[in-house]
């Protein structure tokens, strides 16, 4: 168990990649706090699984783009767990549209949740970690933040922004013994992905060199690695977990 | 066999941007030779230069000075002990003569401070404490003495006014000394109203960085009568050191090296503090003069403030101190100061101090401190 005694916050931890990340962190020994915006049933399911592993789980209703919600979640988690060691920012949405048809709201919304939401949680974590002189932040981005994706100028911009945010924070927090990294998944097989048209999925498979799509566990494994002592000398980096989709 | 001074010389202290360091050294050297009787430059068989090299562009000062004033090929070297370099040079010359290695030695204390900017000097002088553990926080020379002043005020009730009175006295006598940097008197109001440099030390509590040079020519008892009708004798010399860093000193209210050096000098000269009739002490800051009264035994510990308040260090008081203006009015060309003090006491003991004469002075003392008291040299002279 690489993360025995640690405590973590995972945003967007009620479904998809976030849920698996939360469970795998718990499997490695950490207590985990997750937030949900509307998936309360799913969130409670995740909590059940974590508690079965013998760890504590805190479930909080919070909108990641709301500072007060975030602050309250941090306070609660730190009080409940006696401290915080890990932040995984994972909550994200997409509202695809070609730019000439994209509304201001569709732009603002995606930026607020995907980029500002990460800023808010990273800021709160930074304040805590720098006093503690230790901490680990993993910001989930996407290979579509490294390259552009048709119809996703808002999503790509937000995910690209996460990369620079991560690097800037790695520089600010390094002297406090805090590692900040980004993880860029390619296509991941989540419940949501299963609902996509099959040609879409096939296209993604064809892009990979391994001839398959990532499971959520493929992503979570790298997150737990980044949060472990084994990765103590990795910081300010973007690790792609995409089966070779990007290269 | 005694060692005596047969010739003295003193240049104008101040802003000497008109001369290089060796040109400055020439002035008092020439005066000293003329002040002596029957002395030729060629009779002098060694030169000791007192100076702090870090302030000058010119490297290896003593050789350059020796060449310019015409002492080549005689023996020449430099001594350094921060602001007490001049006295260190005199002590070395004394040892050379006393041991018989040299017969006639010229000592020149010379310094150009103003080749560096004020901030550079503040930084450089501030590094005289412990560079590893203190300078990293931006300590300065006035800052160090301010720490002493603040503690002295706390332990003994010394006041800013009392410190200010030292400046008033020294500028009063400085106005009568044509060699001094500052020739005007100052009021107490002006002194205590001046800007803080390092609380509680303000601008007028500090001596000024200055350029200048002074010279003494020393010889043994046998030759002294040949070169002077009024040789002045070294009766006692004391020298001691204290920790570089005040972090390792017993307290912040006295300079331990001064106490020790004075003890040695009094013992060798077989005199008591109350026998001293005129003294030049190291008033780099007004608090330094107050502590000097105490460390030299002119007054009891802690009563230095009272001593100046009662005008005991004025001519007519118990022990006239710094009646040539001190470092305060003369300025402090660090290598030259110790030699300057010595020339003043020689003048007094010869009866040649004019308006500033302490009448009938027979025994005088110089007290020259290096750094924040890392080195102290005390000399007792008698006519």
């Amino acid at each position: 168990m690489e993360l025995k005694g640690k405590s973590a916050i995972v945003t967007g931890g009620s479904v998809g990649i976030g849920a698996t990340i939360a469970i795998e962190l718990a499997r490695e020994g950490a207590n985990v706090a997750i937030n949900y915006r509307k998936h309360d049933t799913e969130a409670k399911e995740v909590a059940k699984k974590i508690k079965k592993l013998g760890r504590k789980c805190l479930v909080v209703n919070a909108d990641v783009s709301n500072y007060n919600d975030a602050e309250a979640m941090f306070k609660k988690a730190i009080k409940e767990f006696g401290g915080l060691d890990i932040l995984v920012c994972n909550a994200g949405i997409n509202k695809d549209r070609v730019i000439w048809k994209m509304s201001e709201d569709e732009w603002d919304n995606v930026i607020n949740v995907n980029l500002k939401g990460y800023f808010i949680y990273n800021k709160l974590a930074a304040a805590h970690f720098k006093e503690k002189r230790s901490g680990n932040i993993v910001n989930i981005t996407s290979i579509n933040g490294l390259r552009g994706k048709f119809g996703q100028c808002n999503y790509s911009a937000s995910k690209g922004g996460i990369v620079s945010l991560t690097k800037a924070l790695a520089k600010e927090l390094g002297k406090f013994n805090v590692n900040v990294n980004a993880l860029a998944p390619g296509m991941v097989m989540t419940e949501m992905a299963k609902k996509l048209p099959p040609e879409f999925l096939q296209k993604a498979v064809d892009e990979t060199v391994l001839g398959r799509i990532a499971t959520t566990k493929d992503i979570a494994n790298v997150v737990t690695f980044l949060c472990s002592e084994k990765a103590r000398h990795i910081t300010g980096d973007v690790i792609k977990v995409d089966g070779g989709q990007y290269i | 066999m005694k060692v005596g001074i047969v010739g003295i010389g003193h240049g104008k202290f101040g802003n000497r941007s008109d001369a290089t360091v060796q040109e400055l050294a020439f002035e008092p050297f020439k005066q000293a030779i003329e002040d002596a009787k029957n002395l030729m430059r060629e009779d002098i068989d060694a030169l000791v230069v007192g100076s702090v090299p870090e302030y000058h562009m010119q490297r290896s000062l003593s050789g350059v000075v020796a060449e310019y004033i015409g002492m080549i090929p005689k023996s020449v070297w430099l001594t350094e002990a921060a602001c007490a370099s001049g006295s260190a040079a005199i002590r070395t010359a004394y040892m050379a003569i006393k041991s018989g290695m040299h017969d006639i030695v010229a000592v020149i204390g010379v310094q150009k401070m103003r080749e560096l900017s004020t901030e550079e000097i503040l930084a450089l002088m501030g590094r005289v404490g412990d560079v590893q553990w203190e300078s990293i926080f931006g300590t300065t020379f006035p800052g160090y003495y301010a720490l002493y002043a603040n503690r002295h005020m706390h332990d003994f009730g010394t006041t800013k006014e009392q410190m200010g009175l030292v400046a008033v006295k020294n500028h009063h006598y400085g106005s009568m000394n044509p060699h001094a940097f500052f020739q005007k008197e100052v009021t107490l109001e002006r002194v205590i109203g001046s800007d803080d440099v390092a609380y509680p030390v303000s601008v007028f509590d500090c001596c000024a960085n200055a350029d200048g040079a002074a010279c003494v020519i020393m010889t043994n008892e046998k030759l002294a009568k040949k070169y002077s009708d009024t040789p002045v004798w070294f009766e006692g010399l004391g020298s001691a050191s204290a920790e570089m860093s005040l972090l390792r000193r017993p307290n912040l209210v006295e300079i331990p090296s001064a106490v020790e050096a004075a003890k040695q000098a009094y013992a060798q000269a077989k005199v008591k503090p109350s026998d001293i009739q005129v003294a030049d002490v190291h008033d780099c800051f007004t608090i330094a003069e107050i502590m000097a009264y105490e460390n030299l035994g002119f007054c009891p510990k802690g009563k230095g403030g009272k001593f100046i308040e009662e005008k005991q260090s004025y001519i007519g008081g118990k022990t006239p101190v710094n009646v040539d203006g001190g470092l305060k009015a003369k300025g402090h060309p660090v290598g030259a100061t110790g030699v300057s003090m010595t020339t003043e006491i020689v003048k007094q003991l010869r009866g040649e101090a004019g308006k500033r004469q302490v009448s009938g002075a027979e025994i005088g003392l110089t007290h020259n401190v290096g750094g924040i008291g890392q080195y102290t040299f005390v000399q007792i002279l008698r006519r």
Binding site: E172 | Q132, S135, F137, L147, L247, L252
Partner: protein, 139 residues
């Protein structure tokens, strides 16, 4: 963490007591103790002043002490003009030893000689460079 990270301007990047900076960055104030005669030193020194032995161990200091004296520097030396005026304090440490450091967070009016104080390891946080120091704060 090498010693060069200690101080606003560091003048002695190479020293036998280099590890001091490492401990300071971790929030610990450490002095040295002679392995032969047991004499303790703060600031730390590698070679024993008392018995001249040259082996030592690191010992932790609480930072508690008394304020011996202080001054406020207005005329700052080169490299410190941007923080002037600043107040320097001299602290006699509870376990022995003495140090100089900035007095932060104690209002001028409340600074009194002989007051109890605490010396706290700190870092300049808002700059990219690593600069470690310690400050004198209320006990």
């Amino acid at each position: 963490m090498p010693f060069k990270y200690f101080g606003k301007i560091n003048f002695t990047p190479y020293t036998k007591v280099d590890e001091f900076a490492d401990y300071l960055q971790k929030g610990k104030l450490m002095g040295t103790q002679c392995k032969k005669c047991g004499e303790r030193y703060f600031p730390p020194r590698a070679d024993c002043l008392k018995c001249m032995n040259d082996t030592f161990r690191w010992v932790e200091y609480s930072g508690r002490g008394t304020l011996n004296s202080y001054t406020t520097i207005h005329a700052a030396p080169k490299g410190f003009e941007d923080i002037a005026p600043y107040t320097l304090g001299v602290v006699d440490l509870e376990e022995g030893g003495r140090l100089i450091a900035w007095i932060n967070d104690i209002p001028k009016k409340e600074i009194k000689i002989d007051m109890p104080v605490k010396v706290v390891p700190r870092m300049f946080e808002d700059i990219p460079e690593i600069k470690l120091y310690y400050t004198i704060e209320k006990a």
